[in-house]
Amino acid sequence: MIVEKSLVEIADAIARREVSAREVLDASLAQIEKQQPRLNCFTSIEAEDAQKAADAADAAQARGDALGPLHGVPLAHKDLFYRAGKVATCASEIRRDMKVDTTSTALARLEAAGAITVGMLNMAEFAIGPTGHNPHWGHCRNPWDPDYISGGSSSGSGAAVGGRCVFGALGSDTGGSIRLPANFCGVVGLKPTQTRVSCYGAMPVSFSMDCFGPLARTPRDVARLMTVAAGHDPQDPTSSRRPVPDYEAALDGDLKGLRVGVPTSHYYEPGIDADVERVMRESLDALVAAGAEVVEVAMPDHKRLIDLGTMVTFVEAAVAHKQWMHERPQDYSPQGLARLELGLGYPATAYLEALQLRPVLVQDFIDQVFGACDVLHTPTSPFAPKTVEETDVGASPDLVAFLNNIGRCTRAVSYLGLPGISVPAGFSDTGMPIGFQLIGRPFDEVGLLRTAHLYEQSVGGLLGNVAPKMPRTAWPPDE
């Protein structure tokens, strides 16, 4: 079945003329038609434009044109990536009809490599929210069971890839927004090093901490997307000028001698599910069986890192949203507005202190953690997916405690700007996916992807290779 193939399998099948781009797209659109009523993972589906692009891709192949590494592959992206002349809703009320006049560099690079954009994906309003709840566009739901959250803020990116609607997606991550939906939806999600992927042409949450990266079903898929999307962009002067490796070519090798760090504090403190602890142990056992060595590693003060990151994020977000907060406060969700308002209350000196401490604390983290291990292994989330209902905290007094818990394993990495990848590894007792996170040195996406790939090989495939049972429960419930 076409939609069960991985991105690399389908791209290579198109290149070998075993299947046409149009056949792949039609299969993808048929899957979207089945899944969208159940998952609500798209904000727009552009079937006609995508069909024209697929026909053009087939014609180009028939002419013998040079093909890019994503030729004819259907993708969709979080609806905060801009495309000139089109609306980028950010799954908000405020930008529901607002057209933009620029195009995201990351998205443009994927299309230039042959990818076909079939639509844009649901997300937390303005990328501020870790669960997938959205009162404006409807909640995005988990492909393994639509009663459960998809995670966020790149909720549609996780759900559409996990639900086999598309073969990969771009997401953005400011505190866990790629890794959490990847974790909850049973797919692979990479938050690259800060500055590795251009941030030009997208709605920012926090210009100091935003990172764009891919979600797909396997580490090899993510590697192919990263090789295309990463690299310096003159339109984003902060983007790194380091050469981009061929991530896919660097996947092979072995894990012998790799030091996998297990944190001695913070990540396993009370509040973590027994299911998550079990899956972490099982994944570490698999890594050891494949040749890695597990070492315990003392952690720097993570509460401090998270507090500093929260401050930077919400001060910068409040600045980006200032005009709309003044003029259209009623058009924000209660939770979105409550979180943006936090940014108005920090003194300028505290914000600057957080930015000035960043290089100091990154260096400390590198010395302390990566002096003792090559990659750090942690849970991505302290809990397995919960239901949409039980996590609907809105702007209630429970909000801050809930947010602190769900982002406990991802937010420090964002403040530091290090790369982190979420890798599917097992299931909860309720049958929902659980992943682990690997954290690496700056620009060690190669190390993370290779470790994830070799883990996948050692266990005979990730959950990303297993289709969610559909439908486990009917959705909507009254149908």
């Binding site: 090093t193 800060q194 500055t195 902060t238 790194s240 380091r242 003060d301 509460k303 401090r304 507090d307 500093l308 929260t310 401050m311 200032k322 907060m325 003044h326 409550a338 308002e341 936090l342 108005l344 209350g345 920090y346 505290a350 202190e353 930015l355 000035q356 401490l357 960043r358 290089p359 100091v360 990154v362 260096q363 590198i366 990566f370 007094p397 909000l399 801050v400 700007g417 040195r441 700056p442 620009f443 060690d444 190669v446 190390g447």
Partner: protein, 63 residues
């Protein structure tokens, strides 16, 4: 003046943004927790170069 009222007054004075009492309470509480955490781990920033972050990332990459 309570912390809530102080936060509300400062935000409205500096930004003109109207903060309702419930929001002011939440902002004051959250910001106090963050500030206390930072005060407990204070360190001198006198010799830190503000533009050094990208260099630290670059130098921290695998050799």
């Amino acid at each position: 003046m309570s912390d809530d009222e102080l936060v509300r007054t400062l935000i409205e004075s500096f930004s003109g943004y109207r903060v309702n009492p419930e929001s002011a309470k939440r902002i004051a509480s959250e910001n106090k927790a963050v500030r206390q955490g930072l005060e407990n781990s204070a360190q001198s920033l006198a010799d830190v170069q503000p533009a050094n972050y990208e260099n630290v990332l670059d130098n921290g990459a695998p050799k």
